[in-house]
């Protein structure tokens, strides 16, 4: 059987996000993210004057960019991208210069003080490779996030992206971000 090409992406229905941060803690446990660091976050936008108010919550993590600037600037090749689009850090090669952090337009990376290396969301590649979904996707009470392979026409994200309007964040960075926010 021919190996099919994959392109992983995440569709986010942020209207459904209730800022419960289950995804943040799930990631912390799954990936041993140190206290004080985060691979994912919930951006908050609070607006208005009493009693006309609104709050928007918007989950964000590494966008696993199509053309990732973090990979481009890395002097050692520690930051790299898999064929399926997942952007990873090879911890053994990382010298901890933090150039990639500065170069990420989405502030998706953090510096692991203890290990002296840079880290970030891996799309839970170790889970995905076993056929599971990422920890943050699985635990979410509102099922805000839908993870899948854009190359797979039967994937739910395919259906969502073909039937709903969406946007990506700051496309002008030229990075080709792969988190799709449903409108």
């Amino acid at each position: 059987m021919a190996i099919k090409k994959k392109r992983y992406a995440l569709v986010i229905d942020s209207r459904k996000c209730i800022n419960c941060k289950a995804c943040v803690v799930a990631c912390k446990a799954e990936n041993k993210v140190p206290v004080g660091n985060f691979r994912n976050r919930i951006n908050e936008e609070r607006k208005g004057e009493y009693p006309k108010l609104s709050i928007n919550f918007e989950p964000e993590q590494c966008h696993h960019c199509a053309d990732p600037s973090c990979v481009r600037v890395c002097p050692t090749g520690a930051s790299w991208q898999r064929k399926d689009g997942i952007v990873l850090v090879n911890y053994d090669e990382c010298i901890g210069c933090r150039y990639c952090m500065v170069a990420c337009p989405y502030d998706a990376r953090y510096f692991n003080e203890e290990e002296g290396v840079v880290d970030k969301c891996t799309f839970c590649s170790h889970r995905v490779d076993k056929g599971d979904i990422p920890a943050c996707v699985e635990t979410c009470p509102s099922k805000v996030r839908v993870f899948g392979d854009l190359e797979d026409p039967t994937a739910r994200i395919h259906e969502l992206l073909s039937t709903r309007r969406y946007r990506v964040k700051e496309p002008q960075t030229g990075n080709g971000p792969q988190l799709y926010y449903l409108l």
Partner: protein
């Protein structure tokens, strides 16, 4: 922010090209950090049941080398809807918390001074048994108080109290949902569930479902409101997350929800929009109700609630039009005002007249599943009357749960008799009761206090002996049936061995019982207990199934309408749904909800209101490192208008004082609250130094909350406190 629709083929091409080029030069896969991992360690997945709040979600623990690495949601439990919340995920840190109590401890300094002597379990048991016996000798078994909050092992604790001979068991419901339960029971003879997944129109009075997580309601509300576009109307003096997601939010004047509901009933009946067939077939007292609500016009309610009359009329019409699929959601922490019971009852009545009973998208009586029971040796019923005088003061209330605040008053006054020994299980009265100074007085006058907890709570900090219970991931608990629209049976089994010298509650109870000569009543192991419970589960190989799956749920869709036949008898006096209640009348209460305006704060005062965030349970998880990251210190929400008047700046410290106490915390000047209210979060300003992240950080609301209770149920009324706020 730019909104674009990208050409997918285009970016896929470029994605593929760069990805391929980069990846081609790389070999190997992701390597984990070496620390704390050994690749040789085998990974096990053990299903269990989350304990960090009352929801009991099903979880699957991933265990690696004897270490709980991760908790994943277990999709087999329909109630938990395939999720774990932040707290559920952070339960790992409950086990590996450096602040944990690592062995039994006996107090050596003054109470609350924090001088402890680590002791063996034998010493701890001997000490407790000796002290309890001393109290019993002096004051009789009724001289001891056994207070606890729900939990799978609570049964053993309660049984110890009863076997010891004390009538004084007091549980959390009168701090929580007693008035809701009583109001719905008084109307329907049972407390139903709310089918939010299928409802079309939902109204919620301060049930902050998107932060106060209740399964499956929170998830179903997202499914209903956000996916199916059902309508949600939300009333709350605060702009909560639920308010932010609602279609309409009204910052209702606190304490006036009853007026809003009565006016809705008024409109619906006046316009004949109620479900006439349903009312005729299943209810009694409609005529009295119709007569009674004539006075409650929308215009009148507008003045009480500050919600425009036109909106009340419109909402009432929309609600009635949604009929069987309209829901006035009950809420849970009904501990608000002294008229709480009547407010909840008005909701029940409103629900009844639109005919949403036992309907898809309406209120549904809970389905149950059978399980076996372990038969143990029975003891004699305690002879003395209860110290809270529940039989006379609150004849309708649930006897087994007691009435907490009345009980505290009586213990303090020593009437009707002295209570001098206090055993506490899985409860933190220092923080969950109002007026902490009063609770401390109660502590002061005790000859003995023993606390069983998984961490050094403030209550444990003031105890004479602390028994550290193993965390839920370290123990096996009794089997629990979770009734509901989607009922399930859940099992909590040991995931890892206790990492410290802790014991499950049953063994603690047995240790004390043995020294009190009560061993015969506790002559079993947890395994025998759960085996007996497995026996009657209507599934083959029940024990194996439960150990392997952690949950069993009846398959298939919920069945609606089982009670909808004209000869169904509701468990009420008349066998009907009682819009008008003779039982209430006989007990000296209003048979129909009568509105009395609640006192409102003076100009220089604010009403202190309470509520939750999704990251903590009550006051008890603010010391969990993974949750503490989200809120490191609590603050006082105050509207910019009064803040400006008082010269209070965002982030500056303020003194907040009531008639019973005063606290200092930071101000959060925010538009997200009514100008006449202030709000603060629970779980900070801890007195226990073994809550090191929140010890003396922020402030505890229990210090300034005043004592008040609902007249019918005895439920604590937590929102009756007026405070003054001034720059510190």
């Amino acid at each position: 922010m730019g909104t674009i629709r990208m050409d997918r083929r285009l970016f896929l091409k470029s994605a593929g090209a760069t990805a391929g080029a980069v990846a081609a030069t790389q070999v190997g896969c992701l390597r984990y950090f070496k620390k704390g991992r050994s690749s040789a360690a085998e990974t096990k997945e053990i299903p269990t049941t989350c304990e960090l709040c009352p929801n009991k979600c099903s979880a699957i623990a991933v265990v690696e080398g004897g270490f709980v690495k991760k908790l994943n949601p277990n999709p087999e439990n329909p109630k938990s809807r395939d999720m774990l919340c932040a707290r559920g995920n952070a339960a790992i840190k409950q086990v590996y918390d450096p602040d944990r109590i690592k062995q039994p401890m006996i107090r050596v300094g003054a109470r609350g001074e924090g001088k402890w002597k680590p002791v063996s379990w034998d010493e701890a048991f001997d000490f407790a048994a000796k002290k309890l016996s001393e109290v019993k000798d002096k004051y009789g078994p009724q001289g001891t108080l056994w207070s606890s909050t729900e939990g799978f092992q609570e049964v053993f604790f309660k049984n110890l109290g009863l076997a010891f001979g004390s009538p004084n068991l007091v549980r959390h419901p009168t701090l929580c949902l007693a008035s809701v339960n009583l109001a719905y029971s008084a109307t329907f003879g049972t407390v139903p569930s709310f089918d939010l997944l299928n409802s079309k129109f939902v109204i919620m009075s301060g049930a902050n479902r998107f932060e106060s997580i209740i399964t499956p309601d929170t998830m179903d509300l997202i499914g209903g409101v956000m996916e199916r576009k059902a309508k949600l109307v939300y009333l709350d003096p605060r702009f909560t997350v639920t308010a932010a997601k609602a279609d309409e939010w009204y910052p209702i004047k606190p304490g006036s929800d009853l007026a809003f509901i009565l006016a809705m009933i008024h409109v619906i009946i006046k316009e004949g929009r109620h479900s006439k067939d349903f009312v005729a077939t299943y209810t009694t007292g409609f005529d009295q109700l119709a007569e009674h609500v004539k006075q409650y016009t929308p215009e009148w309610a507008e003045k009480e609630t500050e919600i425009p009359a036109a909106d009340i009329v419109r909402i009432a019409r929309e609600f009635a039009d949604a009929g069987a699929r309209a829901l006035y959601y009950a809420g849970r922490r009904s501990s608000w005002y002294q008229n709480d019971f009547q407010m909840r009852r008005a909701q029940a009545i409103l629900n009844a007249i639109v005919g949403n009973w036992d309907q898809m998208g309406g209120m549904v009586p809970n389905a149950k599943l059978p399980k076996g029971e372990f038969l143990f040796m029975p003891w004699d019923e305690p002879k003395a009357p209860r110290v809270d005088e529940i039989e006379t003061a609150f004849p309708l209330a649930a006897k087994g749960d007691g009435v907490y605040l009345k009980l505290r008053e009586n213990v303090l006054s020593g009437k009707p008799y002295p209570v001098k020994g206090w055993m506490v299980y899985k409860q933190d009265p220092m923080n969950s009761l109002p007026d902490q100074a009063k609770t401390m007085k109660m502590i002061d006058q005790m000859d003995f206090i023993g606390v069983i907890d998984v961490q050094m709570s403030d209550m444990a900090w003031y105890a004479d002996v602390v028994f550290p219970e193993s965390a839920y991931l370290e123990r096996t608990d009794p089997v629990e049936v979770m009734p509901g629209i989607w009922p399930a049976v859940v099992f909590r089994q040991q995931v890892v061995k206790p990492i410290h010298d802790t014991k499950p509650n049953l063994e603690i109870v047995q240790g004390i019982a043995k020294r009190l000569g009560l061993s015969d009543y506790f002559d079993y192991t947890i395994d025998q207990w759960v085996e007996a419970e497995f026996k009657d589960l209507p599934i083959p190989m029940a024990a194996e199934h439960m150990k392997k799956h952690g949950v069993w749920a009846a398959s298939g869709q919920p069945s609606y309408g089982k009670t909808l036949n004209s000869d169904h008898r509701f468990v009420t006096k008349t066998g009907k749904i009682e819009l008008f209640s003779e039982r209430l009348q006989e007990a000296g209460h209003d048979p129909l909800p009568v509105y009395t305006a609640q006192p409102q704060p003076r100009n220089d005062q604010f009403r202190l209101i309470l509520g939750r965030v999704g990251y903590f349970t009550h006051a008890n998880q603010s010391n969990n490192v993974w949750l503490h990251e989200f809120v490191k210190e609590n603050d006082l929400w105050i509207n910019p208008k009064p803040a400006e008047r008082l010269g209070i700046r965002d982030g500056a410290y303020v003194n907040v004082s009531s008639s019973v106490g005063s606290v200092k915390l930071k101000a959060r000047v925010t538009e997200e609250i009514r100008p006449d209210c202030v709000f603060m979060l629970h779980g900070f300003g801890k007195k226990s130094k073994m809550q090191s992240l929140v010890y003396n950080v922020g402030a505890s609301d229990a210090v300034i909350l005043e004592t008040a209770w609902d007249k019918v149920s005895g439920n604590a009324a937590f929102h009756e406190t007026f405070v003054k706020v001034a720059n510190a």
